[in-house]
Symmetry: C2
Subunit: 213 residues, 2 copies
């Protein structure tokens, strides 16, 4: 049985959600709250599997409450009437695994709760679309290309180049890796030659593109 808490400032919405969810035999609504504070309190006291959290609410809103609710051990599905980019970005960043519009059909809502409870994620189709778009443009296209370029480097060289990309000077790197500054210079120099770049900034750019922190 999946235990759910619904949080919304409008009592009518809460009632509607409860009605929809209770209709499913494997879901039970164990609590309600009208704002972020109540949500957090219920999350700690009732230990629900899933919390449906309205984005906008008077007092502490859903977005600010979400991180702590998640920390309390619950999966969070955000609910909203409008899927503004700002909301979505922030919600997903703080760890929400669902983002639905309030016009979601009942059966999809129940399905979302099950999906999330199972450790997966569920987004409204429009949200999914935009998430894919933002992923595609920033995709791992350059990443693979950059890694290809970094391939000829030896282990040690790569290690030093990563330090370079962190913005450290040669002296710093020498200290961190406990070696002579001359050695660091030699490694950097050979890396520059292998990668056909002129200075350490371009070195850092490559490491950055390759996504190696």
């Amino acid at each position: 049985m999946i235990r759910v808490v619904v949080v919304d400032d409008e009592q009518l919405v809460r009632a509607g959600l409860r009605l929809i969810l209770e209709a499913a035999e494997d879901i039970t609504v164990v609590g309600e709250a009208a704002d972020g504070v109540g949500a957090l309190e219920q999350a700690h006291r009732l230990r629900p599997d899933v919390v449906l959290l309205d984005v906008r609410m008077p007092g502490v809103d859903g977005l600010t409450a979400a991180p702590q609710v998640i920390a309390a051990g619950a999966k969070v599905i955000m609910l909203t009437t409008f899927d503004l980019d700002e909301y979505v970005h922030q919600a997903l960043r703080v760890g929400a695994v669902g983002f639905l519009l309030k016009d979601t059909p009942p059966r999809d809502l129940a399905a979302a709760v099950r999906t999330v409870a199972a450790g997966n994620a569920m987004l409204a189709p429009t949200v999914t679309r935009r998430l894919i778009d933002s992923f595609a443009e920033r995709g791992p296209a350059r990443r693979d290309a950059a890694r290809e370029r970094l391939a000829p480097l030896t282990i040690r060289e790569l290690e030093i180049v990563r330090e370079v990309a962190r913005g450290h000077g040669n002296a710093d790197i020498a200290r961190r890796l406990t070696m002579s500054e001359s050695t660091v210079k030699a490694h950097v120099s050979r890396a520059l030659a292998k990668l056909h770049v002129g200075n350490r900034v371009q070195l850092a750019i490559l490491v950055y593109d390759a996504d190696l922190l």
Copy 2:
């Protein structure tokens, strides 16, 4: 009526998909193909709204065919038995707006076709989950923070700092922006002071995080 083409190397799978989709009254399967070449041919000839494309196929597989199918004006939903990260990344990068596993229930499959035809996107829950994860860690969190840090810079300083982040030397920058090398150095120096960083590599890192190319 949503016009669909199904592409899979196994005839049995194609028949199954056709059966499922034809059961929906607003969907009609107008064509089938067994590989990427056939998919592209059908896409051009039949102009379907949606193409269901198997990832792995003998000959030209779905991933390589997808870009051209999309270019032909169809929405693409990728199908696969295993949701390997590599597949997902590549598929979404080339413009697929759906990614489903072959164990997707019939009604979800039809729903996915409708969703995609409406211009939105539909992913398998497990895929959505991992997409969110990769978004959260690489999200616009640092971007905004970095832009905040770069705020105190003047227009000109920012202009120069961006050149720095491209890996250009001071002399290069001076030539590009038609000013003295001394001037460039001064700007860089003041930028370093304002941002409280020690060298130009860290400067480049900030610009990179801020996503200003």
